[in-house]
Symmetry: C2
Subunit: 254 residues, 2 copies
Amino acid sequence: MSENSSAAILIIGNEILSGRTQDVNVQFIARRLADLGIKLQEVRVIPDVPERIIGAVNELRAAYDELFTTGGIGPTHDDITSECIAAAFGVPWEHHAETFTMMQARLGENFNPARQRMATMPRGARPIHNSASLAPGFSIGNVHVMAGVPRIMQAMFLALEPELPRGAPILMRTVYGIGVQEGAIAAGLETIQRYYPALDLGSYPFRHGEGWGVAIVAKGTDTAAILAAIEQASELIAAQGVAPIQGEPETAVK
Amino acid sequence: MSENSSAAILIIGNEILSGRTQDVNVQFIARRLADLGIKLQEVRVIPDVPERIIGAVNELRAAYDELFTTGGIGPTHDDITSECIAAAFGVPWEHHAETFTMMQARLGENFNPARQRMATMPRGARPIHNSASLAPGFSIGNVHVMAGVPRIMQAMFLALEPELPRGAPILMRTVYGIGVQEGAIAAGLETIQRYYPALDLGSYPFRHGEGWGVAIVAKGTDTAAILAAIEQASELIAAQGVAPIQGEPETAVK
């Protein structure tokens, strides 16, 4: 039924699990993927532990069409993603000749062993050159290995986009009901969902002043169905005596 | 070696995977867990699909001491977490008598079938009453089932804390080097990490103006080792001709 490829994100890094850092990479990648027409089906966050990385990479690259990893490709001792990807694929981890030569030319005597690690990749890797960092990310098979620093990750993802599969863009449209309680419209929403089984119809309460509101989101690839479902959801909200507020037509990317 | 329990978080919800919503629950839970002395080892985000929920719950509750889920316990058709938890445990999903009576008394004629779902739990569940919502979360075995709305999730987590195991608090301390490049101090950091194998020593570059800085983070339960490792990392930074900036002593909770 779906012409959309599937994808997962693997976030490698103790800094998310410790609560030190607020992840922002998932939302960026999720929105870009929706625009490309790729369905994000899973996110995992794991620590910098070799067997955890190897296991998760092999599980997720088998389960989904594309796997994006973030984190662990810098020059320090805790940057172990690259050699773990090599182990996951069962290939040598070796100097990538083109990248090694380029970084050596640019860094000169500063191209020390730590930085040489960033020119070391699984055999067969394709570098992801980008505008934000001299050291590239890389793709191998259906796995795309990117930095964890958001600015660098974003540049790598944008550089990678032309290589990714495309499907029908995944569109979202939202209608808001301020002061409407989910429990009052749940039966009506279920009826709408049954009528449009190809859509994902979601209901999300949110805080509004001292009270609550609800956002009804219709998501899918069929614009006419989305518009019709949102119209029906608006009528549900209106029946509660509340003026529905429809969001602008939007893809997941704004 | 560790007296710290382990934990995972399972985020159930299409709104994170679509990029519509920026998750903030992971960071809140991660910081509270560090303070309680519980090691967060994994986070997963999955869609509202029964077999995905059941599979992930059973995998994660077996792999870790505690499992926290967020999302999918409201009154609408896409709120399917509760019945999936019952299926994962192989127990009936049934009215929770005490909760049913309490909600009926409070809601009167508004206690419709959709809201009655929120008083329906796996047999054996222990409700998590809280200050933010009439409908409780619940625990069953080592699985703690909470709302996805941050305000409600936080109230549920705080209500749950007295029931959770405690270990030695997981402390973090950070030193910053503005303008220092990771690649220049990588070898020195690796030496420090080898000297303190019980600590997690992390290196995190960050954007600073038009340039970069690096944060060195030492994390663990041994305060003396953390202080000594941060002192050595400060000397590494100073050797680059940069004045190190040590953060205040901090637990992961501030």
